[in-house]
């Protein structure tokens, strides 16, 4: 059994238009992979299709997690199996408190009839919130409602910390963050790095990768990985811009 998130020749369409055109990528546990690419390259589509969003149609290829077929699983099954997506635009759920939301997510992972230990849950949540410098008032507030951009992203990382996934996909987690929030979020992610966990960090800008240093960097363009390298590739991209990739491809 492969201890990795393995994407093989993936093809994805939306309303009949192909967005991802044969993407292959393997993320072994213990590694952080970054995908960079210009707008419209299919980065966010990749994130959503891995999480199981129903607007996207997989027309070919496979995705496995530790050898298990991911594409055959329901959205919630994927999460319970250990896949986590930190949303670019986290949704607001009015009237559902953050604490209840997290509790329901953890409860969903327990066998039927088993109840979550409320005291241990709160202790854990508060400890994680302290790490993320989140005020306790966020436990009682409705999920993401009225949160600033930075607060929403911290909340995504809090969920990741509580759910302890095997593979985490961070979709443009840096967008809308000021430098302090970026630092805190990155610290949260770095504290979760472990040999038992793989990360896929999707970003438009190199900046995030100063804080979350990747093992591998991939450049995505027009639905494919067009270049892979180590962290220096990100710096090169930052310096030369995405046009460099486009020109190279055209040549």
């Amino acid at each position: 059994m492969n201890a990795s998130l393995s994407i093989n020749d993936l093809h994805v369409s939306v309303d009949g238009t192909e967005i991802i055109k044969g993407l292959t990528l393997e993320i072994p546990k213990g590694e952080v992979h970054a995908i960079m690419g210009p707008n419209g390259s299919g980065k966010s589509t990749l994130a959503k299709v891995l999480a199981g969003h129903e607007d996207y149609e997989v027309t070919g290829g496979s995705v496995t997690m530790d050898g298990q077929d991911v594409l055959g699983m329901e959205i919630d099954e994927r999460s319970r199996a250990g896949l986590f997506l930190a949303f670019q635009y986290p949704h607001e759920i009015p009237g559902v408190s953050n604490a209840n939301f997290l509790r329901a997510a953890l409860q969903a992972r327990l066998p039927k009839g088993e109840e979550i230990d409320a005291v241990a849950f709160y202790k854990e949540m508060y400890a994680r919130m302290d790490e993320l410098e989140m005020d306790r008032k966020f436990t009682g507030r409705s999920v993401n409602e009225g949160f600033s951009g930075g607060e929403k992203k911290r909340n995504e990382i809090l969920q990741m910390m509580m759910l302890e996934p095997s593979f985490a996909i961070l979709d443009e987690t840096d967008s809308g963050l000021d430098i302090d929030a970026l630092r805190i979020v990155a610290q949260g992610v770095n504290s979760m790095r472990s040999p038992a966990r793989g990360f896929l960090v999707i970003t438009h800008y190199q900046r995030l990768l100063d804080y979350i240093v990747p093992d591998h960097v991939h450049v995505m363009f027009d639905g494919r990985i067009v270049r892979s390298g180590d962290k220096s590739l990100a710096l090169e991209l930052e310096e030369k811009g995405y046009d460099w990739v486009k020109e190279e491809l055209a040549a």
Binding site: E54, D76, S79, H91, I93, G95, A104, A105, A108
Partner: protein, 453 residues
């Protein structure tokens, strides 16, 4: 069709005599063993007047604007018995303790018309009157008289109001004197049992200047099958600078009917909050009127309703701004499933001269089924200047993106929809004061959602 008046009469005989009481004589021979002997004359007179008014007032008709969209068959008076049947009351008292509030200032449990438990009322601060309505009538007749059924039924329920005035036996009178603050809620549980029976719960809350109190009514059936008609009335008089909060949680079985009238009067710098929660019954109608009578008066009108099966919830409201510099804020929320129906008809009326009024009205419907039907009729009448008013109603379904977000955290689709709907209903409840109160209501919602198919 049989004459409903004759039917009602034939069902209200003195239970000690074999023959039905003659028309109009029922109140001199009330079918009640528990009521005090020394009820004041004015009240006995009022009861008679109410009974005659009930007989004379026609049943609602389709052409009456206040009954638009209503299923009129629900408002027909069927054969009913006023004597409720409770062989065992220990069980309902135990149940009340189990799902009621842990922290209360006082608690009353009514089995039908009969008080079966009360605790805490004697320990309330000096000067507070907190008594079953019948005892209050006997002991504080003049005080009760000032406030008893003083608000006009303006929203179509005159016949029901008259019946209530004639027949009420259960419920409480709360009078909080000047400056006295009661922190914990006063809790009242109304239980019904006995098929084809009627009960008439009454709640009268008066807060004198700068006083404060919360009263909560629970409505529950003791059996899943006994059909009950409840015609309830809650009147709230919040005098200058006071705070009065009232919550009704209606969870009758799905064969029962509920009619709830509310007249709220808010004085200078006072705030009154009403919250009507409906999850039970086959049919429930709330008529709620809030009168803002002096500058600084503030009325919050809240409601959360969970309808499924063939349930119909019909709600009519009036925010009546009689004085300037007053505020009212209404938020009614309905979550609908299956073939359920809701009707919301709300009017903001700003009287001539009531300048600088702020009045808001929102009705929000969450449709969980294509067959469910939400009717909204918001309305506005303004006869003053410098007024801020807004009203609106929305109907929508749970968005796929919200569901996706919850499912992406491992929550199964059914549970995800449940959480979002429950969150939607919690939003109105969140405006209440009192953490335990809110938590208790949310807990009851959760139980109700758990049995929702």
């Amino acid at each position: 069709m049989p004459n409903p008046v004759a039917e009602i009469e034939s069902t209200m005989p003195d239970r000690e005599s074999a023959s039905p009481a003659p028309r109009g004589e029922w109140f001199s021979h009330p079918p009640r063993h528990d009521e005090p002997a020394n009820l004041p004359d004015w009240y006995l007179e009022r009861r008679k007047e109410c009974w005659h008014r009930f007989l004379e007032t026609p049943e609602p008709v389709r052409t009456d604007e206040h009954w638009r969209f209503a299923t009129l068959g629900n408002a027909k008076f069927e054969q009913l018995d006023t004597a409720t049947a409770f062989p065992e009351t220990e069980e309902i008292i135990a149940k009340t303790h189990r799902w009621g509030l842990k922290e209360t200032a006082a608690r009353f449990v009514f089995a039908g018309n009969r008080l079966v438990e009360s605790e805490g009322a004697a320990d309330l601060p000096q000067g507070v009157i907190c008594l079953p309505i019948m005892e209050a009538l006997a002991a504080h007749g003049d005080l009760v008289r000032e406030h008893f059924m003083q608000e006009e039924a303006r929203l179509g329920g005159a016949k029901f109001a008259a019946l209530h005035g004639a027949a009420t036996l259960s419920g409480i009178f709360v009078h909080v004197p000047r400056g006295v603050v009661i922190e914990k809620p006063i809790e009242v549980a109304h239980w019904a049992a006995g098929d084809q029976t009627a009960i008439f719960p009454h709640t009268l809350v008066v807060t004198e200047a700068n006083a404060s109190v919360t009263v909560l009514d629970w409505f529950r059936s003791a059996t899943p099958e006994d059909r009950t008609l409840a015609v309830a009335n809650v009147d709230i008089a919040a005098e200058d600078g006071s705070r009065a909060q009232y919550v009704a949680f209606q969870n009758w079985n799905d064969r029962s009917k509920h009619f709830h009238l509310n007249g709220t009067r808010v004085g200078r710098d006072a705030r009154a909050t009403s919250c009507f929660v409906n999850v039970g019954s086959a049919w429930s109608r709330n008529e709620s009127v809030s009168r803002l009578t002096a500058p600084g008066a503030d009325s919050r009108m809240l409601s959360s309703n969970l309808a499924d099966g063939n349930q119909e919830f019909d709600q009519r409201t009036l925010q009546l701004h009689e004085a300037g510099h007053t505020t009212s804020d209404l938020l009614y929320k309905n979550a609908l499933y299956d073939r359920s129906r809701t009707i919301f008809s709300g009017l903001i009326q700003v009287c001539p001269g009531a300048h600088h009024t702020d009045a808001y009205q929102k009705c929000r419907n969450l449709l969980g089924s294509d067959e469910a039907e939400a009717n909204s009729m918001p309305g506005l009448e303004i006869d003053a200047d410098q007024v801020k008013c807004s009203h609106g109603s929305t109907s929508g379904q749970i968005s796929d993106e919200e569901i996706f977000y919850l499912r992406a955290r491992g929550i199964a689709p059914r549970k995800a929809r449940q959480m979002i709907s429950q969150g939607f209903l919690n939003e109105a409840v969140e405006h209440l004061d009192g953490e335990e109160l809110k938590a208790a209501i949310e807990q009851r919602f959760e139980e109700r959602f758990a049995v929702l198919a």
